[in-house]
């Protein structure tokens, strides 16, 4: 198992790390038992993600996917950010080892969870817009594949 140069760059010096104090959308995905948790903070103004930060507990690829995914949605309208797929995240990192693909899914879902939280705070039901947040792999019975 070897990481791409891109993964190592984002892991060694991740972008957008930290807590966004004035966030108006926060999403968290994953659990400690499985070894990865991603927490996304977004600041939305006029339907645009004007700022984003993350905190991640997990392996190098979890940190790298968080970093690049936050880059990819920063400055984007919500409608565009919702189109971000895990596949696009993997491609942007020049690939991930097969056993680490779930990290890119986490990043996609964490962004959706943050956007859903934003809508909820606005009094808008997020489900028709964001869809279902896929956190079902993280049950008590077992972890992701």
């Amino acid at each position: 198992m070897e990481y791409s140069q891109k993964v190592m760059e984002h892991f060694a010096a991740p972008h957008n790390v930290g807590v966004l104090e004035n966030a108006n959308g926060i999403g968290e995905i994953g659990n400690a038992k499985c070894g990865d948790i991603m927490k996304m903070y977004i600041r939305v103004e006029n339907d645009v993600i004007v700022d984003v930060k993350f905190k991640t507990y997990g392996c190098a690829s979890a940190i790298a996917t968080s970093s690049i995914a936050t880059d990819m949605i920063k400055g984007q309208p919500l409608s565009e950010a919702l189109k971000l797929t895990n596949k696009a995240v993997v491609e942007a990192l020049d690939g991930l080892p097969a056993v680490k693909i779930h990290c890119s899914v986490l990043a996609e879902q964490a962004i959706k969870a943050a956007i859903a939280d934003y809508y909820r705070r606005q009094g808008i039901d997020p489900t028709p817009i964001v869809g279902k947040i896929d956190d079902e792999h993280y049950t008590d019975e077992g972890c992701h594949l």
Partner: protein, 394 residues
């Protein structure tokens, strides 16, 4: 940048002694040990010298030493061999522990599929087996007890002599996987009542792809490879002469310096524990007394092991972890779970394995680097945020 190799439990560098000993057998003494002409016989004598060196190192007889390709082969051979012999007598029960190497656990799992019954004995929170638990598990149809000499992840040294005595009294064969122990702590197969023992050359400065199975005289272990008279006909195939020579020389050297090295290395290891224990929310894994000299294993809450070891790698430190991400499976190390750690704690494990070539400066460098790296990972960890919040009673 400084480079510190701290993964000697994974593999070691070939020592000068081993390299010098093996070199002529790669070049001028290139003969096949089965050939009758002189360079063949030179190679043959070199193998027999190595066999004597190994026998002397563990107080065995030369005729009880078989060279293999490594620890995994030795473990597979002896467990499958004893199972085959046991089955003929209607003895289809094997006892082992929950903290064995996968070379043992995967072999016993395969035997279970073939109809054998296997009892997996647990360990205490320090990673040590209770001999009474083994005594309670021995049955009329038990053909083999296999317990590792010392654990590869947490360094816990097992009560081998007591287990050997028990097995001898009960008339049950006893095998120990001594891959981590050989060359590092004293082994005496007679005193410790060991019937079979596995070791691996590259864990004590010989070359990769070499190992030993000690098999007590009188046990007719089935042949592993058919096709020639090598290794008393039990393991056919032209011998790895340079590798065997290196193994003999390296083990002899390691055993000649065993006390001196253990004293030096365990002092460095204790310094690592002392320094790293200052990091909050950390724990030492394994027993601090009954422990391999070079093994350091700790867990740091709120961080994940793979990230930790890649960050250490970035500052020139080679280490290891038992997290799920590094084990390539969904769960963290079975050893860390067996000592009762929660998954989220086990994910944050770090193993450093040092040896006599490690210096005091190396150890201080590791400690200097470790704290800021853990702080950095914790700063970006939502799990750490939660741990801190819980501490504050929020």
């Amino acid at each position: 940048m400084r480079y510190v190799y701290a993964d000697n439990a994974a593999t070691t560098a070939v020592s000068k002694t081993a390299l010098d000993a093996m070199m002529p057998y790669l070049t001028e003494h290139c003969g096949n040990p089965s050939s009758l002409y002189s360079i063949g016989q030179t190679a043959h004598r070199a193998i027999e010298k190595a066999r004597q060196q190994v026998a002397a190192a563990i107080n065995a007889d030369k005729s009880e030493i078989y060279f293999t390709s490594g620890g995994s082969e030795s473990d597979n051979w002896v467990i499958r061999g004893c199972a085959e012999l046991g089955k003929k007598k209607g003895k289809c029960h094997i006892i082992t522990t929950k903290i064995e190497h996968h070379a043992v656990l995967h072999t016993t799992a395969k035997l279970e599929k073939e109809g054998f019954e296997v009892t997996y004995i647990g360990v205490n929170d320090k990673g040590i087996v209770d001999v009474n638990d083994i005594a309670a598990a021995i049955r009329e149809d038990t053909c083999l007890v296999t317990v590792m000499f010392a654990n590869n992840e947490i360094g816990s040294v097992q009560p081998i002599e007591e287990i050997g005595k028990l097995c001898r009294e009960k008339g049950v064969w006893f095998h120990t996987d001594a891959v981590q122990a050989a060359g590092h702590i004293a082994i005496d197969v007679k005193k410790q009542n060991i019937d079979f023992l596995s070791m691996s050359g590259h864990k004590f400065h010989a070359v990769k792809g070499t190992g030993v199975l000690y098999c007590k005289n009188g046990v007719k272990l089935p042949n592993l490879i058919e096709g020639g008279g090598q290794e008393s006909g039990k393991r056919a195939g032209t011998e790895n002469v340079p590798g065997i020579v290196a193994l003999g020389a390296a083990l002899e050297e390691a055993c000649a310096n065993i006390d001196k090295n253990a004293q030096k290395v365990s002092a460095l290891r204790d310094r690592l524990f002392e320094g790293a224990s200052k990091i909050s929310h950390s724990r030492i894994n394994g027993d601090t007394e009954k422990r391999l000299p070079g093994n350091f294993s700790m867990c740091f809450e709120g961080v994940e092991g793979e990230s930790l070891l890649l960050m250490l790698d970035a500052v020139g430190i080679s280490a290891s972890s038992g997290s799920a991400c590094t084990s390539g499976s969904l769960d963290p190390s079975h050893v860390l779970l067996a000592i009762g750690l929660k998954h989220e704690v086990a994910h944050g494990s770090l193993r450093l394995s040092i040896d006599e070539n490690t210096s005091g400066e190396d150890v201080e460098y590791i400690l200097e680097q470790l704290t800021p790296i853990i702080n950095r990972l914790r700063d970006m960890s939502p799990l750490w945020e939660r741990i801190i919040a819980e501490d504050k009673g929020e």
